[in-house]
């Protein structure tokens, strides 16, 4: 399992990264283009999603149908995604077809047809996503939390709004494409079985001539705190809670991540134990770290029947605050082993690894090796974690509930009292 990151920056700013996994038969790439929701116009949100949909409707010499049929014939599993910062395109495939598939995606990011005749179809498709979100209260509470906690341009969700969708025309899509599908800020991460020299030559040939604009400046992010309720007649109340923590870029990220691990990694974690196992309040409860524009947050979720929502919120908050009483050796050793095992599991999937490489590069401008991650995890101590928690007490809470009854954050929550 020798690990070596290969990297090359092209003159136009595009970054190509590679990691060999010669024990696999597959290759995978994650192609992040800096065309996320934070670059949308205020009154035209969902531009990123609609443009992503449109660039996949024919490019280069292929119309929409020929493009998909070519990928199917090559045996490519693919997906696309929209985040705050990027439009992403991911493919996993038999390694023998990697360069052919990269050539197709090079056309997609540079020479899409953006067929006006299909704009309404693409719009309808986005509208379907939006309607589906409204029928999924457990997902919807996170979308509403993002809108509430993060002011524009960061608080947009990939599905946008109905008003945004209706307002977009072909010119807006074309303008968004021209402004944001650009090599500078794009990351192409490849993992699996491939020949690096051949890969570099192919990328140089098909993407070396890609030109684009400079990235627009974005304002600093100042989160919004407090609570918000979305009325929804449902069996359960779905609650999403956020509070500040160290961001992915921070030197103290591993401490913050470890504390969230104590709360939520595995069936012996505190949230699973306190909220589900001991009290039977929920089927699903979890916490995770999330970073946006240099700001880190812990995001928590719990879904419970309406009459138990208040108790669930209280137990969830108490469990978060229980970290101030320290972490025991057993919790720490479980956590370390889980994280280290997960690094080995990642070696079984070219798709998972390419995604991690791209993400690391975006946040850190480098890709930590497994050895580095293991060293940082090994260096975690109970004392260090407690000290980190005490210095960074959970604060700046945002709470969103989706259900039939609103919930309020208890008073004085930012500063837990003994």
């Amino acid at each position: 399992m020798n690990q070596h990151l290969l990297q090359r920056q092209f003159d136009n700013g595009l970054v190509l990264l590679g990691e060999h996994m010669p024990w696999l038969r597959s290759s995978a790439f994650t192609f992040l283009v800096p065309a996320g929701t934070c670059y949308e116009h205020n009154d035209l949100d969902v531009l990123a999603g609609l443009t992503s949909e449109m660039v996949q409707r024919g490019c280069g010499e292929l119309d929409s149908r020929s493009f998909w049929e070519r990928l199917d014939a090559l045996g490519v599993e693919r997906s696309s995604s929209i985040t705050t910062s990027h439009s992403g395109f991911s493919c996993a495939m038999p390694s023998s077809v990697l360069t052919q598939v990269l050539s197709l995606y090079a056309d997609l990011v540079q020479r899409p047809h953006l067929p006006e005749s299909q704009l309404n179809d693409a719009r309808q498709l986005c509208l379907q996503d939006l309607r589906a979100l409204d029928d999924e209260p457990s997902h919807r509470c996170f979308s509403e939390l993002k809108r509430f906690r993060y002011p524009l341009p960061y608080g947009r969700i990939s599905q946008g709004t109905k008003q945004g969708l209706v307002g977009i025309d072909s010119d807006a899509v074309r303008a968004f494409f021209q402004q944001n599908y650009r090599p500078k800020g794009s990351i192409l991460a490849v993992a699996g079985r491939f020949d690096w020299e051949q890969l570099c030559a192919t990328v140089e040939q098909v993407l070396g001539g890609w030109q684009g604009n400079e990235a627009p400046m974005l304002p600093a992010l100042s989160p919004i705190y407090g609570s918000r309720h979305v009325d929804h007649s449902s069996s359960q109340t779905h609650l999403a809670l956020a509070y500040d923590c160290a961001s992915y870029e921070s030197p103290e990220y591993y401490q913050a991540r470890a504390l969230v691990g104590v709360l939520s990694d595995g069936m012996s974690s505190r949230l699973f134990s306190e909220v589900r196992e001991k009290r039977g309040l929920v089927y699903s409860v979890f916490a995770t770290c999330f970073s946006l524009a240099g700001q880190g947050s812990v995001l928590c979720y719990a879904g419970t029947t309406n009459n138990r929502a208040e108790e669930t919120l209280q137990v969830l908050l108490d469990t978060v605050h229980s970290l101030r009483f320290g972490i025991n050796d057993d919790e720490l050793s479980r956590l370390k082993y889980r994280i280290k095992s997960s690094l080995v599991f990642e070696q079984e999937s070219s798709a998972a690894r390419s995604s991690q490489i791209a993400s690391d590069w975006f946040y850190l401008g480098r890709v930590p090796s497994r050895e580095e991650v293991c060293q940082k995890v090994d260096a975690l101590t109970r004392e260090g974690l407690l000290e980190h928690f005490e210095k960074n007490l959970p604060k700046n809470f945002s709470l969103v509930t989706v259900g039939s009854q609103p919930l309020e954050l208890p008073r004085g929550i930012d500063y837990p009292q003994n």
Partner: protein
């Protein structure tokens, strides 16, 4: 990669897909029992039991179980279907001994009353959670209509009522009758110490019940029916249909999967181009479900309420068309390529191979290597696909609609 099978003396069969070069190892108990093996009065007991398995044994408290799973760094879980219950863990090879000991000990839970009562609350929350996701209910109801009084109509989760009424005694009895040596397989894949595994299992299962109590196996009879469930707050409309399918050992099962892929997989299928690419529906898909004595094809359409009638007409026309005119050689080749590639990519992970092996053994007590499966897909002709379409999609049809009328915010 090598398949090793071993029948423990007076014990269950052990199956290993041995890959010494793998980085990890996956282990699982595959129990041939599920919702179809339940009496109507205990609907949901298989799934509830799947939860109770993690609530302690003679040797371990529930907290021990959770802690040990996490200590092993395990990627572990369990699931219940109409005809099977599966418990699995993927770990680093150095954890094999502990992982196998834990997984096997779990098969004999202690069934403490207080744990049972607490877990009942969790399952009622699980039912409430699904209840907030509109297609839930339609799948369950259409199965009841299609299979009528047959045990395959039993809801896997049960209902809030049947789960509330369940007692520990009923669950103990179900467990004693179904979790027996001749009704369970142990499967492993990846970097496995096979002799250690066999020795360890031989000791651990000594006291288990020898034989399972058979459950009724009436001949399935399908019923045509339609029903509409109103759900005021749903934003989308949902349609779930069932047609007759094929059993899990039917030689035409490869043709059936290709048929479903050509008609309605999530990219490049006929319904994809007509309904998804055009934005007329959010989802339009068909997939086969196979049991050992019968099968069905499930169709699922989700779209805006005002488009429902038109989209249903497209679905009907697409089915009529494939039955009358079949599929093209190009469509068949593309579907083969998609399914083949997906199988090859999935086969890279020992965790995925475990499910392929265990499920195959549950279905037919044999395992087809990937190369054999790919050849069988390769051998399917366009005539086979058309014949299978006529044999299935012209049969009885049951459908349930969930109609919403909520406005988009």
């Amino acid at each position: 990669m090598e398949l090793i099978t071993h029948k423990i003396e007076h014990g269950p069969e052990v199956l290993v897909l041995h890959d010494p070069a793998a980085f990890t190892a996956s282990f699982g108990w595959f129990v041939k029992t599920g919702a179809r093996d339940e009496q109507p009065s205990v609907a949901g007991v298989s799934h509830f039991l799947e939860h109770m398995v993690f609530k302690g044994t003679e040797r371990r408290t529930p907290e021990d179980v959770n802690r040990e799973l996490d200590h092993l760094g395990a990627q572990s879980n369990a699931f219940t279907s109409e005809d099977s219950t599966v418990f699995y863990a993927s770990v680093l090879p150095e954890c094999q001994l502990q992982a196998v000991d834990l997984l096997t000990d779990l098969m004999q839970p202690r069934f403490f009353e207080e744990d049972f009562d607490m877990e009942k609350q969790v399952i009622l929350e699980e039912i409430a959670m699904y209840d907030d996701q509109p297609p839930y209910g339609a799948f369950e109801r259409v199965t009841e209509l299609f299979f009528g009084q047959h045990p395959l109509s039993t809801r896997v989760l049960g209902t809030a009522e049947t789960v509330s009424d369940l007692t520990v005694a009923q669950m103990r009895s179900y467990h004693r009758h179904r979790y027996a040596k001749d009704n369970m397989y142990f499967a492993a894949s990846g970097k496995v110490d096979v002799s250690q595994l066999v020795d360890q299992l031989s000791e651990l299962v000594v006291d288990w019940p020898e034989t399972a109590k058979p459950t009724p196996r009436p001949t399935p009879k399908f019923h045509s029916a339609e029903e509409c469930l109103e759900r005021e707050l749903a934003h989308q409309s949902y349609l779930v249909c069932l047609w007759p399918g094929l059993n899990c050992n039917h030689p035409d099962r490869y043709a059936l999967r290709l048929l479903c892929s050509i008609l309605a997989d999530d990219s490049g299928s006929r319904l994809f181009w007509e309904l998804i690419d055009t934005g007329r529906a959010e989802t339009a898909t068909l997939w086969p479900q196979m049991f050992d004595d019968c099968g069905c094809i499930t169709g699922y359409l989700c779209c805006a309420p005002e488009d429902t009638a038109e989209n249903e007409a497209v679905l009907e026309r697409t089915i009529r068309d494939v039955v009358e005119h079949g599929v093209t050689a190009k469509e068949l080749e593309l579907a083969r390529s998609k399914i083949g590639s997906s199988l090859i990519l999935s086969d890279e992970r020992p965790g995925n191979r475990l499910f392929a092996l265990g499920q195959s053994w549950l279905n037919r007590r044999s395992y087809e290597p990937l190369e054999v499966i790919l050849r069988k897909y390769h051998d399917v002709t366009t005539d086979d696909v058309q014949r299978v379409a006529a044999e299935t999609l012209l049969g009885e049809t049951a459908s349930v609609r969930i109609v919403g009328n909520a406005e988009l915010d």
